[in-house]
């Protein structure tokens, strides 16, 4: 009997199997043929193991980078990359991540059902990564398993409802309709950029009137852009660390520049592997979630990935990326000057989030809105990680961290609550946010009926 129980516990605490079971559950709920259910379960299982394998590759390239950086500048250098930090975190917090993701999706549907915020968050990888960060931060509070998953799941469900909602006034302006929302990891930053654009710019002077060379489009290929930027960053750090240090301590005699380029390539390879794994995991879970929510929430608005707004302003995409990146470099210089942890501008967050911030800034403030909005966005995603890292416990300083603004906002909110008042404060904080959404719904309805009566 005990043996059976132990096996059950082993199954539940092996994240790869747990995620696979979640996929099986989702496919079963959709009444898919048994063949599809088995296939989906196996692909999810293997996908999780692929992510874990990618984590090993990333760890292998970040460790020598940390040592080189330390030796060269005598301070810590952190590469903000969601894929990297998630993969590292999953090896330790995988079970909680899987459960929080499942409960979070259920809460998202429930919140959309009972409040006026009808957003269903369909960007699966963003949900997975957010679940992972919440799992890490909740674990720091030492909460026991069941409340941890429930409160963490509720926090995720709330985040996945609120972030699309705060960007929606601007998203509407861009897509010219209210049937789609933006569900990406930087909604806070996009909304801020749209807000700033309104005050600094003039939307009549759109970025789309500029004739731009399309040459930078190849950066949309993340393998190319990560390898290029990491190659440059690793090489600069290697030059400062010196050939002697590297060939004696790290590279086993290989030339230091060659070694640096090889490690930069390893980093990109690790991200590539992780993305492949994440794709396998989500392939079965997201359609299930979509199917269930469509049945349960009438008039729901799907919140989708950020490239949905790119075609509306392709020039703003490039301008946003470039000025966000410049914001990252300016921030880096400030960090070097002040001697704090140095956040190295990550090309992926600056590309995807910076580009989207550019589109939002352009929608409200034209060229100037796009430039100022995404520059400030770039500064924010550089400094936010410095505030976020301490609340992530022992994962805070492993050479990588979460970058995009929504992770920062959620993580700092939960982490600071945990710091100040422990578990109770976290629970109270999450419930307060839920109460706020329900309050807004009830109040909004009242106002609506009053208005109708008045008319």
């Amino acid at each position: 009997m005990n043996g059976v129980l132990n096996i059950l516990i082993d199954i539940a605490s092996t994240p790869a199997i747990l995620v696979a079971l979640i996929a099986v559950l989702g496919l079963g709920l959709q009444k898919k043929p048994i063949f599809d259910v088995v296939r989906g379960g196996i692909k999810t299982f293997v996908g999780f193991l692929v992510v874990t394998a990618g984590a090993g590759v990333i760890e292998g390239s970040l460790a020598p980078f940390g040592e080189m950086f330390q030796h060269a500048f005598n301070m810590q250098g952190v590469v903000p990359n969601n894929e990297a930090i998630v993969a590292l975190a999953l090896t330790k917090y995988g079970t909680y991540t899987a459960l929080i993701m499942l409960v979070g999706m259920a809460f998202n549907i429930l919140i959309a059902r009972i409040t006026k915020f009808k957003y269903i968050y369909l960007t699966g990888h963003a949900t997975l990564y957010m679940a992972c960060m919440i799992a890490v931060i909740m674990s720091v509070t030492k909460m026991s398993a069941v409340p941890l998953v429930l409160v963490g799941g509720l926090a995720l469900g709330l985040a996945n409802t609120i972030f699309p909602a705060i960007a929606q006034p601007f998203t509407k302006q861009i897509t010219k309709n209210d049937s789609v929302a933006l569900g990406h990891t930087g909604n806070f930053g996009y909304a801020l950029s749209g807000f700033i654009g309104k005050y600094v710019g003039n939307k009549e002077k759109s970025t789309e009137d500029i004739n731009f060379p399309k040459g930078l489009a190849f950066l949309r290929d993340s393998t190319v852009s990560i390898t290029l930027t990491m190659g440059i960053v690793y090489t600069i750090v290697a030059l400062f660390a010196g050939n002697t240090f590297i060939s004696e301590n790290l590279s086993d005699g290989t030339n230091y520049i060659i070694y640096a380029l090889q490690q930069a390539g390893m980093f990109a390879a690790g991200v590539f592997v992780i993305l492949a794994g994440v794709r396998l995991i989500l392939a079965e879970i997201v359609p299930a979630f979509k199917g269930i929510s469509e049945k349960l929430v009438p008039n729901s608005i799907p919140a989708l990935d950020c490239p949905i707004v790119f075609p509306y302003a392709p020039n703003a995409v490039l301008i946003g990326f470039l000025t966000s990146f410049v914001g990252g470099i300016v921030s880096l210089l400030i960090m070097v000057a002040t001697g704090t942890t140095v956040i190295i501008p990550g090309v992926v967050p600056h590309f995807f989030c910076g580009a989207t911030a550019g589109v939002f800034g352009n929608a409200t403030g034209g060229v100037r809105g796009a430039v100022v909005g995404s520059f400030i966005h770039g500064v924010i995603i550089s400094f936010m990680p410095i505030l976020l890292m301490p609340v992530m416990g022992d994962l805070g300083f492993q050479g990588s961290t979460f970058s995009d603004t929504d992770y920062g906002v959620t993580g700092i909110f939960l982490g600071k609550l945990a710091d100040m008042g422990g578990q109770i404060a976290v629970v109270a904080g999450v419930l307060a946010v839920l109460a706020l959404l329900i309050g807004l719904t009830v109040f909004g309805k009242k106002k609506g009926t009053e208005a109708k009566e008045a008319a």
Partner: protein, 93 residues
């Protein structure tokens, strides 16, 4: 035949387009088509017979050969029309 949706990171938007293509194919009653999604970096011409990308990626997707460019990746009517055209062209409808 095989169709594929491609986006920058191959996680979110291309997946959404894949799901939408599947539902369009269902509507049209066309069976036996495999649909997949890829990121720009991994997509190669041999992975599918037709690739769907958003307008902003049209230039980067040239090497894929048979590319259908979507003006808006959230417009179901546009997608329906373009998927139907591909099906007609390949004598599936």
């Amino acid at each position: 035949m095989r169709m594929a949706a491609v986006c920058g990171s191959g996680l979110g938007s291309s997946f959404m387009v894949e799901m939408n293509i599947n539902s369009v194919l269902n509507e049209l009653g066309v069976t036996g088509i495999e649909v997949a999604h890829y990121d720009m970096g991994s997509a190669t011409p041999d992975l599918a017979d037709v690739f769907f990308v958003a307008g902003d990626l049209a230039d980067s997707a040239q090497h894929l050969g048979n590319v259908v460019v979507l003006d808006s990746i959230i417009d179901m009517d546009e997608l329906r029309e373009k998927v139907r055209a591909v099906c007609v062209e390949n004598e599936l409808l």
